[in-house]
Amino acid sequence: MNVENTRADVIERLTHSGQRGVLRFLTCGSVDDGKSTLIGRLLYDSKLLFEDQINVLENDSRKHGTAGDEIDFALLLDGLEAEREQGITIDVAYRFFATEKRKFVVADTPGHEQYTRNMATGASTADVAVMMIDARKGVLVQTLRHTYIARMMGIRHIVLAVNKMDLVDHGRGRFHEIVAEYLKSADDLGFESITPIPMSARYGDNVTHRSETMTWYDGPTLIEHLEGLDVDADIQNEPFRMPVQWVNRPNLNFRGYSGTIVSGTVQPGDAVVVAQSGSAANVERIVTADGDLDKAVAGDAVTLVLNHEIDISRGDVIASAEGRPEVTDQFAAEVLWMSEEDLLPGRSYLLKIGTATTPATVSALKHRVDINTYEKKPSRKLEVNGIGQCNLSTARPIAFDPYQQIRDMGAFILIDRFTNQTVGAGMIEFGLRRASNIHHHAMDVSKAERAQIKGQKPAILWFTGLSGAGKSTVANLVERKLAGAGHHTYSLDGDNVRHGLNRDLGFTDEDRVENIRRIGEVGKLFVDAGLLVTCSFISPFRSERQMVRELVEEGEFIEVFVDTPLDVCIERDPKGLYKKAQAGEIKNFTGFDSPYERPEEPEIRVDTTSISAEEAADQVIAKLKEMGRLG
């Protein structure tokens, strides 16, 4: 027997002709609509269960089932119950089954409270959403909510699974009523296909085999429909994009760029550019361990070799020279918030898009979207599971395409800079200005020159600490001593800023963030002017202090932590503010009903409980000398 033949036969048997790769879908619905039953049924019908698993299932069905004498397929999936008790908040379970034609990955998203972010997570990698509807209940508010999330996450195909048809006498009228009701709201959302199927998950009608009772329905079964759906074609017709993950340099003779192609196709000879820099080259080879390719398509992980050397590193996007992505540092996006801590406009987060990571802030929250009614409502912050239309600005320009056109080129996550948690997910809609259009006017007199004339190294001395800690007192003495030594200085503090520039801001978390952002920008201008600027602000949040740090060059931000314990501040209470806060007359007072996040590694720390303000100021000056800032 020819071995090669046997192998080919086995592979043939495994994959079958007409094999179409993987389809990823997600099931959505309210509790008890039959999601678990449907998935369990799919696993069972596709003969993916082993005898030991079926035995357990039959036993469990008898013991805890809700389906009478029938097998309760929902029990197959109950790994998630225990976890609900443990209080895990984000869970999406992935399950696998295959038919003769295709392999399937199902994302199952239980959990009612955190449903929005769970569903969005599951939807982010899905091609199709199966909307489960209980035929008795019809279209519910939740159905519309799930439909909105599916649309937002870029799902193009909907299956409207009208389930439990056995409980409405398999009635054709009821089915059409539900379909009409659904289409009223979903029809103009722009889905490529909406396919309604009447089914009974418990008995298997129209899931994998055709219903014997609902003979009036002549459409496909769920599986037939999913097997036939073509979802890859679109992305291959988009222009070529490959975010560079890793520069491949085994030796001096080889330099390749490794990455996953996220859209389009590429062939040797194709003209490409680095989106961010505009540098151009031609593709020379498409290297893989299986030999060079004549052509690679969206989804392939490859290594490109170009015909001449240009500057490329991780985070760059190699793109078709003809159809380039936009490059911008300001754009509009839909943001889904996933953290218990609110999204605050102005706060600095890390934004990861493709393989690029950069600091970013939400510069404006235009409105919040009520996903039950699709209404837009004004809002100053986003809470967990909230969805908002935002403008974002990034520290470095990014290359992107609108999310609805090329998912991987418009999808980003936001990461909290201190907890490192993934706190938000965003879908870019459009750019607000092209980075290439922002020409910083080149001034004749440079920052270095201004500093040189003054004979000093400009810097921001940022005094942070509780109210009454002694920030202004120490800062004032420091400025005095600096000026006395012939330095050019300026000082910013609450009084000269709150009454003017920031007159419009209050003391909510959002306003505090904006307050610091503006002060940071002003401080930066003074540094540009060549000055030593002292700033005394409570500045309770690490994120904002970090944001200011990043506005200026390395070494120019010097954090001075005036570390006075709360009880000492309360005792001093120079402005009588703590008394008022205790009496409830001031709201959002730091240390009371508003948090203070201690600096983790301040450049300078002074302890005013053991030394006088004068000594503290001397310490600061000595430290600055030591750091070489006053040379």
Binding site: R13, F50, G79, Y94, T125, F254, I413
Partner: protein
Amino acid sequence: MSDITATVRAYADRFKSAHKRQHPLSAHLRTLEAEAIHIMREVAAEFDNPVMLYSIGKDSAVMLHLALKAFYPSRPPFPLQHVDSTFKFRDMIAFRDAIAKELGLEVRVEINEEGRAKGINPFDHGSQVHTQVMKTEALRSAMTRHKYDAAFGGARRDEEKSRAKERIFSFRDGNHGWDPKNQRPELWRNYNTKIRQGESIRVFPLSNWTELDIWQYILEEDIPIVPLYYAAHRPVVERDGQIIMVDDERLPLEKGEKPELKMVRFRTLGCYPLTGAIESNAQTLEEIVLEMLTARTSERSGRLIDHDEAGSMEKKKREGYF
């Protein structure tokens, strides 16, 4: 030259220069392969000190193969780490050493010497204690000593109900513990790789593969695996419905037990006293796959440690076994 060495040497030659494939890879495997390669490159690019946890089994063989492909023509930019419980099958150790030598990879071996000195073994101390001391603790100390910040593991979501919701990037705190409440949502293929010093991430590039995918990939890619996966006459005893191989003289025979030669193979490999064999005639990859297609029991029924205690996977995971 042993068979193992010869097979592994021929395999290593394949990566000296790219070899054009004869048959295109099946569509769904191509997707899974690309996904795993993408994940590995993210880790190589974003972490300072990644490692691949290499258990010598078929999943590790696939994972290593993917790494060899992901960075080609470079070598994988990380070492392999094996945790040796000292009760592995002898063929596994021979295979591991051949992989290290022929492929020129750094394979670090961690043994809990304290446990070994105390003579911790699965017979006298039970499988739970043995696993805890020789596997979980050894892995933890390897993670700490080498200061790994990312570790690839070969676990798959289809292995067990409780794994179905595991992330691909699974966050571990400074004690290598898995806190179910502190896992990050994972959207698109956009993985959050940010951690603080001392924390680490377990990365599972095979998350979306099924057991059948693994076998089909091994078949289509012709990946060498430990011979124990193929049926052969082996000395075995039957215990509590499990077929246990008498791999060396350390296995204490119970009264009346006499090793018998049987045609058996293994669907999963671990410590030999804890791994059940199945009776089989499958001597080639093709036969294994065909047997799989008609298999009636799940892979995990052969792993004794899973039967020990309900919810044991969850517990082990929290302790850092995965």
